[in-house]
């Protein structure tokens, strides 16, 4: 089962490898992991998407807590989840319908040059999946997904 967890940690040297090492060493999955400092604090916030049953999740949460730099682990309750994706499409494609798709997913054109346009979307991971399916017909040559960022509400 898919799980999302937010972790607040001391913003110090090596803390990311402590967390990723914990997942790797114990055989837990990481579907995505994003991290950035929390403004005006000594902390960083990690957004982790993982999977596993109730037991595994409980262990993940406890093990994360056990790390000395961990301040808080948020795993229950509601989250707003946004993931970003960038998609590169050759300019010689037929762009009929692209606008409508972008609109439906709150997407936009991020950049263009003489060969490609790059479009971007930000939405929950599920809807990004759907967007990527919809956009397949434009034969994208490159897709970059950014991993989820989470905020508990």
């Amino acid at each position: 089962m898919r799980r999302v967890i937010s972790v607040i940690v001391l913003n110090e040297h090596g803390v990311l490898s402590r967390i990723s090492g914990l997942f790797a060493g114990r055989g837990y999955n990481i579907d995505s992991l994003t991290v950035a400092p929390i403004p005006e604090s000594g902390f960083s916030r990690l957004s982790i998407v993982t999977s596993g049953d109730e037991r595994v999740l409980e262990q993940i949460v406890k093990q994360l807590h056990k790390l000395i730099p961990t301040y808080k682990v948020i795993e229950s309750g509601e989250f707003v989840e946004k993931e970003m994706a960038l998609i590169k499409i050759p300019l010689n494609e037929n762009f009929g319908g692209l606008d409508a798709i972008l609109k439906a997913y709150n997407g936009s054109v991020a950049n263009t040059n003489e060969n490609y346009i790059i479009v971007m979307v930000a939405d929950d991971a599920n809807r990004i999946d759907n967007f990527l399916k919809a956009i397949k017909k434009f034969n994208p040559v490159d897709i970059v997904r950014g991993g989820s960022v989470l905020m508990d509400i």
Binding site: H13, S17, R18, Q59, H65, K66, I68, Y71
Partner: protein, 564 residues
């Protein structure tokens, strides 16, 4: 405020932490630290002959004393040699601080001579680690290292210090208080949960105390004895929990698990309430999980929340310090020994059905006899360390442990080569008390160079090699499960252990009879030199009972007819 260099700061910090002895091995990146070690007067430095042994010695010191053990090593191979020691201490929650030299900060990341990503390597084997990046943070980091090592669920902490930082000058202000906002171990158990636990215990018919190493670490042994006495609840222990209950206490059913007693394993299987005290449900004790304590509800008291419901589901979890939780529970409980009389009768019957036993012989020495005899000869005022293998299990079964911290053994990792250096560390902790290391002919060769350390430092310990000319424990598995194909376990070509001991400056004995053994042990105990007693024992003796890996804990092999 004092201005000190990094190496002086280390010495000052160790002084303030009350460190009496450091085990270590020098090298380039640690030269400044060692130079200061030479000048200071606070602690003794013991030169081991291998970094692994330095950490095991610090570990043995910590296990026997309850204090934090300390070791120094240099960068690169010095550090990597120490990793097994860290892993061993981590698995058994032993408080220690390892300080390693690192190449200078300007060289980090350049693949410099003896550079290795030490904190990257130690991360999974320690409670916490640090790479010190500037001199200003060194005092705080040292203080935190000791604090983290000894509080909460104890464990090893590794501090990696680049060479330039050990020379750099800074202000030394050792923090009085520690405030790590993210690290706040829970000591007091939840009152509601404790109340609930008391009710559940009173309502149970077949309760069982399940005592682990946490009981010793938290200093709760005395309380547990009282608790057992007051309630009349029988107890089983893990390997790490030996000594919490007196060996001759009627309520003590002994060690459970793969080589546990019949009665202990049956008690586990038939109990209706398991009261786990600082035990972590290692697979060597649970056997096949789906069959483990099938009829029991579980109360689990542990200071480490991640231990609870990791392996088995705890119906009544209590996170907290065992001592604090138990004293509260004592106040609330009304259960009386009479309540569980029937249960104790059932267990007594199991015990008389298959007591721990072995068949003695007059032709050949039995390892169990050697252990029993030693136990009788030395009594309680002794610390026993072991290596790993059959001899370790026989010590657990046949040595009468009556006190906590009497047994120093590698439980979680089962590290061969642990016994001798750990014994030396323990000897520093206990002074005049004898320290006896039971070892195997395989294990002793893994750190035999430490005989030298003992001789130089005049710290004699008695080593009893139960010599079966085999990697016995592996041979036993090959006997039972691999149709006697003894692949790479036959050690019949051996060094002369007596000469080895003598060449190091110790004393050696080779014994084949009971009389010879008693004489040798008596002489060894009186000797002011380290001794090796090479005891020739029955080559094919097996450790029984035995639960095959993956089988239910009640499915014990009780005798080895035809398996010798």
């Amino acid at each position: 405020m004092k201005e000190l260099n990094g190496s002086q700061m280390i010495s000052e910090a160790l002084k303030l932490e009350g460190v009496e002895v450091v085990f270590g091995y020098p090298g380039g990146a640690a030269l400044n630290i060692y130079d200061e070690t030479y000048k200071q007067e606070y602690f003794r430095h013991v030169l081991t002959r291998h970094e692994q042994a330095a950490v095991h010695a610090a570990d043995g010191y910590a296990r026997a004393s309850g204090k934090v053990g300390v070791a120094f090593v240099t960068s690169g191979p010095g550090f990597t040699n120490a990793v097994t020691g860290l892993a061993t201490a981590y698995s058994d929650s032993i408080p220690l601080v390892l300080i390693s030299g690192q190449v200078a900060t300007s060289l980090i990341g350049t693949d410099a001579f003896q550079e290795i990503d030490a904190v990257g390597i130690s991360r999974p084997c320690v409670k916490h680690n640090y790479l010190v990046k500037n001199i200003e943070e060194l005092p705080r980091i040292l203080k935190e290292a000791f604090y983290i090592a000894r509080t909460g669920r104890p464990g090893p902490v590794h501090v990696d210090i680049p060479k330039d930082i050990t020379a750099a000058i800074g202000k030394f202000e050792y923090p009085k208080e520690i405030n790590i906002p993210t690290y706040k171990p829970t000591y007091k158990g939840n009152a509601k949960q404790i109340k609930k636990a008391a009710e559940i215990i009173e309502a149970s018919n077949r309760p069982l105390l399940y005592i682990g190493g946490g009981a010793i670490i938290s200093g709760a042994s005395e309380l547990i004895r009282e608790f057992a006495k007051k309630t009349g609840i029988p107890a089983i222990t893990t390997l790490m929990g030996l000594g919490v209950m007196r060996d001759d206490d009627e309520l003590n059913l002994g060690m459970a698990g793969m080589h546990g007693s019949y009665v202990a394993n049956m008690a586990l299987s038939e109990s209706d309430l398991l009261i786990a005290l600082g035990a972590r449900f290692d697979d060597r004790i649970t056997g096949k999980l789906s069959e483990f304590a099938k009829h029991a509800k579980i109360i689990h008291v542990d200071i480490d929340p991640s231990s609870i419901s990791k392996i088995v589901n705890a119906h009544f979890p209590i996170v907290g310090d065992l001592k604090s939780v138990l004293s509260e529970l004592m106040g609330r409980i009304n259960a009386k020994p009479e309540n569980f009389e029937k249960w104790r009768e059932i267990l007594a019957r199991y015990n008389s059905l298959y007591p721990l036993k072995y068949t003695d012989s007059e032709e050949v020495l039995k390892p169990q006899w050697v252990i029993e005899k030693t136990s009788q000869m030395v009594g309680d005022d002794v610390v026993v360390s072991t290596d790993v293998g059959q001899h370790q299990m026989w010590v657990a079964q046949f040595f009468a442990f009556n006190k906590p911290r009497q047994l120093v053994t590698s439980g979680g990792q089962g590290t061969m080569g642990f016994g001798l250096p750990a014994a030396l560390g323990a000897k520093w902790a206990v002074g005049d008390k004898p320290v006896i290391n039971f070892t195997g002919d395989g294990s002793i060769l893994m750190n035999i160079q430490e005989l030298m350390t003992s001789v130089v430092d005049k710290k004699p310990v008695v080593n009893i090699i139960l010599n079966n000319s085999f990697l016995g424990m592996v041979r036993q598995w090959q006997t039972f499960f691999y149709e006697h194909r003894y692949s790479n376990t036959d050690l019949s070509i051996q060094p002369d252990f007596v000469k080895l001991a003598e060449s190091f400056g110790g004393v050696g004995f080779r014994v084949k009879t009971k009389k010879e053994f008693e004489d040798a042990l008596n002489t060894a105990l009186k000797s002011d030199k380290i001794s090796l007693i090479d005891v020739v024992v029955d080559r094919f003796e097996n450790v029984l009972p035995m639960v095959p890996a993956g089988a239910a804990i009640y499915n014990m092999i009780l005798d080895d007819k035809g398996q010798k």
